[in-house]
């Protein structure tokens, strides 16, 4: 069993602010972190490894600095880490990114056939939730999105059983391998990395692959390979505070009355 986890290094968006004048993101001095959803993907993979036995490989596409995030993730118990890094990848949208990552998965399959690719539900910088499904489409594989975990893997029948989170309730699905799974934050949290795991990761140098190492059409990569065009970035207008009806001042009955009135006039009720 070979499980690949996709990891993205993202700016810590809790610290990103929008310049009110130019409407661009102020990225100056913003630290980078592992996309938090990817930790759930990683835990999902490690739990498959612990229960059913698997090789876990991490892949990331990003600047050379992203080896930091790969090393950090390796500490939890992954076996191998690969960074796709090349100027040709820069500016890729979700279509081009999933194209490049699917090429990396094909390349990894040459060493050991990949059975499952696991992604976080979405990234905190793009929020599109398209990359995982994109990889599935590029590879022509099954996909299980918004999963809270993989319950069972049957290597002989070549199936997996996974739970999906729905708006109301959950769904348990079985599908055939190979498959792409995207994981939500209701899944189990990442385990505590062991000390030997951390020491291994400190000594480990992730492989870096350029476009040379993967089978891709250059025209499908980067800005020119990306069908999405960003027209404008802007901060949403500040919402004004709601109306406060004070029970202390008006008394309970009148307060409820006037609150109901407000809801009526605004057409909520």
């Amino acid at each position: 069993m070979h499980v690949v986890v996709c990891v993205k290094q993202v700016p810590d968006t809790t610290q990103v602010r929008v310049d009110p004048v130019t409407n661009t993101l102020i990225r100056e001095g913003i630290p980078t972190v592992v996309n938090p959803f990817d930790y759930y993907a990683l835990e999902c993979a490690l739990s498959i490894k612990a229960r059913f036995g698997a090789t876990v490989t991490l892949i990331s596409m990003g600047p050379p600095d992203a080896v930091k995030s790969l090393k950090k993730c390796l500490a939890y118990g992954a076996d191998r880490a690969v960074l796709l890094t090349d100027r040709a990848f820069a500016g890729s949208d979700t279509w081009a990114t999933s194209y490049a990552l699917s090429a990396a998965v094909r390349r990894l399959s040459q060493d050991e056939p990949v059975d499952i690719v696991i992604c976080g539900k979405q990234t905190i910088d793009g929020d599109t939730a398209q990359t995982g499904p994109g990889i599935a489409r590029h590879l022509g594989w099954q996909q299980v999105t918004y999963s809270t975990g993989v319950e069972h893997v049957d290597p002989d029948a070549r199936t997996i059983t996974a739970e999906r989170k729905l708006e109301r309730g959950k769904e348990i699905v079985r599908t055939t391998l190979p498959v792409v799974v995207t994981v939500v934050e209701d899944a189990p949290e990442i385990r505590y990395a062991s000390l030997p795991g951390i020491i291994t990761s400190l000594r480990y140098t992730p492989e870096t692959w350029s476009v040379q190492q993967v089978d891709v059409e250059l025209a499908n990569l980067g800005l020119k390979g990306s069908p999405t065009k960003v027209k404008r970035i802007f901060a949403p207008p500040q919402r004004s505070g709601g109306e406060v009806v004070s029970v202390e001042k008006a008394g309970l009955v009148d307060a409820v009355k006037s609150a109901v009135d407000v809801l009526h006039t605004q057409g909520v009720l």
Binding site: E28, Y192, A193, S194, L195, P196, I198, I199, L202, R203
Partner: protein
């Protein structure tokens, strides 16, 4: 079987990193365990780093390291509730190589230093706490236990560089728990003037009368610590200010002072408020500082273990020095570990060379010199209360032009001093403590 290293260093502060760097450069297999998410993550010192002692371990560090500003002026203020007597020294020579000191933010600085030490070959494990020391049947330290799964490690030597609280040296009974008057508690804010980084830098330079890139420090005594033995401090960073107040931990309890409130009130002192006008609080942090002095220094070594930096109470509060004592003690412990490694003998007798070497440096010499300083201040609070107030009254009288003939004025000022014999005795006492 846990992995075995030549040396485990606990704590990636200045002392631990200095020890590690010294040792990896001589080929030892070193691992550093740090509780914070990265070296510096837990550090609060927004302070003054001294060039000479630091470059003994990290030559010419200021050329690459994230230092804030070279310190070209050092001021001391004595404050009453609403006024200040100021003294200081400024030298343009300090704006050039060889610099005397830099303001730094240790959070940034230690992160850089950690990377440097890692690049030299040490393994630096962040986000991991050493919870206990492993000992063999004869009590010799042989490794550490961390809070991680499979978290034990073995080593010939463990260097404890775990900072002011140092629960680990307490665990192996090198000292009993520090008393509240052996530690000071400092609270500090990073304050940012309005605007972008270069605008902020400009505001700072204008407010403090500095040329571009130059920095200054102000140590303050008197009203701000509300009668407690302590100081306030203000340092200029590149585009922010570090401002903090510190006092003996025991005094906060005795004087019923809340450290956060203390800091907020201090910022409003009329001598300070204009300097902070329009500033936004970027960070608030608190940290302990060893204040026990010479008599609190624990045994610096035992079989398989050495203690360095704040963990060994190596801090000179009177002179605002701790970083330099940390670097120097770390370096000497590192050198001793190298000798022990070459001899293949890690018992206390071999490691005692560290204490002997440290005795010959300014570290122990200074701390011995100021042996009684802290207790003396505790017993003579007038240095923090009535004297600063008195000096301010005198200065106000001296500088007020009110048609009073100078001879009369001088006599008035002389009388303000009250009991001269008491002052003479206090000054003599102070002289004896620092001589």
């Amino acid at each position: 079987m846990p992995e075995k290293f030549d040396v485990i260093v606990v704590g990636a502060g200045l002392s631990g990193l200095s020890a590690a760097y010294t040792m990896v450069n001589k080929g030892l297999n070193v691992i550093v365990i740090e509780r914070g998410d990265y070296p510096g993550a837990k550090n609060v010192m927004g302070g003054v780093l001294y060039r000479q002692p630091t470059s003994e371990v990290f030559p010419e560090f200021w050329k690459e390291a994230p230092v804030e500003r070279p310190v070209i002026e050092q001021d001391m203020w004595l404050l009453s509730d609403a006024s200040a007597v100021k003294a200081g020294h400024r030298s343009e020579a300090w704006a050039r190589e060889p610099y005397n000191a830099f303001t730094v933010l240790r959070g940034k600085f230690d992160a850089w230093l950690g990377q440097k030490v890692a690049d030299a070959g040490a393994l630096i494990v962040p986000g991991t706490t050493v919870v206990d020391l492993l000992r063999d049947g004869r009590g010799r330290v042989i490794g550490v236990r961390t809070n991680r799964p499979d978290g034990d490690l073995l080593a010939n030597i463990v260097i404890l560089a775990d900072g002011a609280v140092s629960l680990l040296s307490e665990k192996i009974e090198l000292h009993t728990r520090w008393k509240p008057n052996q530690l000071a508690l400092a609270v500090k804010e990073i304050l940012a003037p309005p605007g972008k980084s270069d605008e902020r830098a400009k505001i700072i330079e204008e407010r403090f009368g500095l040329a571009p890139g130059e920095g200054l420090t102000i140590e303050m005594y008197g009203a701000l610590t509300k009668g407690m033995v302590g100081t306030a401090f203000l340092y200029t960073n590149k585009d922010t200010l570090s401002f903090g107040v510190g006092a003996l931990l025991s005094d906060y309890a005795e004087f019923k002072q809340n450290p956060h409130a203390l800091l907020q009130i201090a910022k409003q002192h009329p001598a300070l408020a204009p300097l902070f006008a329009g500033c936004e609080v970027r960070e608030y942090a608190a940290h302990l500082i060893p204040e026990g002095g010479y008599d609190a220094i624990p045994p610096l070594f035992a079989d398989g273990v050495m203690v360095v930096g704040d963990a060994a109470q190596l801090c000179n509060g009177l002179h605002r020095e701790g970083s330099n004592l940390a670097v120097t003690s770390g370096k000497l412990a590192g050198e001793t570990a190298i000798e022990a490694h070459n001899k293949g003998d890690f018992f206390g007798k071999t490691l005692s060379a560290y204490a002997a070497k440290l005795n010959d440096t300014f570290v122990i010499k200074d701390l011995r010199k100021y042996r009684r300083a802290s207790q003396h201040m505790e017993k003579n609070r007038q240095f923090f209360t009535s004297y600063p107030a008195m000096l301010n009254n005198m200065a106000t009288e001296f500088f007020t032009v009110d048609s009073v003939p100078k001879r009369e004025k001088q006599w008035k000022i002389f009388k303000m001093a009250g009991n001269k014999l008491k002052i003479a005795a206090d000054l003599w006492g102070l002289f004896k403590v620092v001589k």
